[in-house]
Symmetry: none
Subunit: 124 residues, 4 copies
DNA sequence: GTGGTCTAGACCACT
DNA sequence: GTGGTCTAGACCACG
């Protein structure tokens, strides 16, 4: 009843969309699997069904999910899309982080160093 | 005369604020240095003075800049704040990226591998 | 229609902010209760909506109120914050007054005496 | 060389004025005593002479200090003014604090209790 | 000239 | 309808 957790700085439908992308890319929702109905999903997330519908339509636009008339929404079986998704997400995160760090004046080597330092500090 | 460039997905005053933080953290604006006046800054960035004032007041709240009445705004001389800033920014970027990648199911080792791969792909 | 009353020596948004804090701390606005919309509030106080928004954003920064996207602003349900608020306000007033009186050369005993004298003078 | 300390939320000349009032009311500057020159005072406080002059003119307006042409500024010898000053300052502080506490819903008895509690907490 | 505040009015995304 | 953001323009205290 408590729903998913959102931060108020970004639109909720974007955050929902991201979460579902994550679930698909990590296989929590497998290729061809039927997704919960909009109402169920909305209930689980604790949001207005309109908001959930908007999030799902974003994913449909990306080709990640498909709607079968009067049956429901399914994860696409287009393996190309699914295979590309995870790699694309990873590259997005990396390129964003790297450009920010370069903005702060770090070279490629320093970035790699910083990552190792960070990992060590946290793991100790 | 064409001002700084902003992306429309986030508030302009946040982006201005970030840019100035970057300039301070990289030493473009040194400790104790007088900043351009709000009006000048607004002109340079191509925004309304109110918007610039809002961005600067954020930085003042963070203790990064101080206001001398009727004289102007200055980068803080509190070296502790300044020394911590760059490291904090770097860690923010890293921790954010790492948590997103872990969310996508990558282990620490895989993250480091991905970074190396990414760097190699781009540098070739 | 005549709005709240403000003294011109301090920013209006501060005075608004204080008034609302007072209302929350005294239970006029209860925990979890929906606040009037920014526009309503502005009308009631007789100020520009922007000014009211600024006052409210101060309270949000303090964690006293939270914003639900496209729904409105609510008094926080964080009882810890709310329970601490009144006591903190009282202590602020007391410590400020005491430090000023000590500045004027009064000892703790003299301060208590002065308070009793003051109360008696006024109540007679 | 470091001057007096001011908080940036209120005009500096007001804060200077308050400090000098405090010094007079506590006898640091006695009745009829010659005050430092504006320049000396400004140097000591670390402010612009204009600012110090403005602060002193406030005190002259209140009748607390008098200017002897070509000689300097002196604390008034009007004992009535001086005797009334301290009491007035004390009453100002008290009435301000009391009205704020009543605003928060405390009765006179509760205010006195709160003061005792506060004094005890801090003295333990 | 400096920053701070306030108003007026507009547009926008979100739910 | 809700809050958030931005612009434009004005006035003011301060130093």
């Amino acid at each position: 009843m408590q729903g998913w957790t959102f931060d108020s700085s970004r639109p909720i439908y974007i955050q929902i969309s991201n979460e579902i992308v994550r679930r698909i890319s990590t296989g929590i929702y497998a290729a061809g699997e039927k997704l919960p109905s909009v109402r169920e999903f909305a209930l689980e997330a604790g949001v207005n069904p309109n908001t959930m519908a908007r999030a799902l339509s974003e994913l449909e636009r990306l080709g990640l999910i498909v709607t079968e008339r009067a049956s429901g929404k399914y994860v696409t079986t287009n393996t190309e899309v699914l295979l590309g998704l995870r790699k694309e997400l990873i590259n997005q995160v990396l390129s964003h982080a790297i450009s920010e760090l370069e903005n702060l004046g770090l070279s490629r080597e320093q970035i790699i160093d910083a990552l190792h330092n960070y990992a060590n500090e946290r793991s100790v």
